[in-house]
């Protein structure tokens, strides 16, 4: 896969047999790209589908996008884009929280995943501390972050969610949080 300047963004291959089919996902920004395809079969079919992701994203924690409870946000970690996107949630009281994370990444020959990390800042002068980390090895997972000694609840405050490339994973994702 190449960008408009013919710079290679990605290359790999996949073993297939006579009637195999596979789907691989790429995250890209808007623009023109080229696919160079070579197969050892005498015929093949190549199809594409575009899926738009609508969320505004921020590659810096200082610009983290607020996630409202129960509202799904989608985003893209593009091959030719920043390595991370930052979001935040606010708890006005101590609550049990779950975060549903879905990923459309990888596929045949395109390895890597999307990792979801959750950070807490306990006070204005503290550095963010990691409380939960998830590598999205499957397309859909639910995170149940908690702080130790707090009955599985998160104290009131602001929590930051970093969605980042894991082993150069790229593609799309969605996030939604709610009480549990």
């Amino acid at each position: 896969m190449f960008n408009a300047s013919k710079k290679c963004l990605y290359t790999n291959y996949e073993y297939t047999s006579f009637t195999d089919q596979f789907t691989t996902h790429f995250g890209v920004n808007a623009g023109t790209y080229y696919f160079a395809v070579r197969t050892y079969e005498s015929t093949y079919v190549i199809n594409t589908d575009f899926t738009a992701t609508t969320s505004k994203t921020s590659s810096k924690r200082s610009g983290a996008i607020l996630l409202k409870r129960g509202v799904t946000k989608t985003g893209t970690l593009a091959l030719n884009g920043p390595s991370s996107s930052w979001y935040k949630i606010r708890l006005t009281s101590s609550r049990k929280v779950k975060i549903d994370a879905k990923a459309m990444v990888g596929g045949a020959g395109n390895y890597g995943d999307i990792q979801v990390d959750i950070y807490r800042i306990s006070d204005a002068t503290s550095s963010p501390s990691l409380i939960t980390s998830l590598s999205s090895y499957s397309p859909s997972k639910t995170l149940n972050p908690y702080t130790i000694g707090n009955n599985n609840k998160l104290p009131a405050g602001t929590y930051y969610i970093r969605v980042t490339k894991y082993h150069n994973g790229n593609g799309g994702y969605s996030l939604k949080w709610s009480y549990r």
Partner: protein, 72 residues
């Protein structure tokens, strides 16, 4: 920033082909498994459009066929 995610489906060697792609797409020789260098002229590269695709005849497995894709 307007971003798009793309799924690419590559399906090999289906017997029920009713049409083989035989356009004037750009092809070029591959000398190894290293990263290919695209040819200068890609004006004839067929465009992959969302929701559609190509059935491609591939008589020479030593060449790459190049497709253009415009992410909106």
């Amino acid at each position: 920033m307007n971003k798009r995610k793309i799924s690419v489906i590559l399906l090999s060697a289906i017997m029920a082909f009713t049409m083989m792609f035989a356009g004037t797409s750009s092809v070029f020789a591959a000398d190894s498994t290293t990263i290919p260098t695209l040819p200068d002229d890609l004006t004839n590269a067929p465009e992959l459009v969302s929701g559609s695709g190509f059935n491609a005849a591939n008589p020479d497995t030593s060449v790459y066929r190049v497709y253009k894709l415009i992410a909106p």
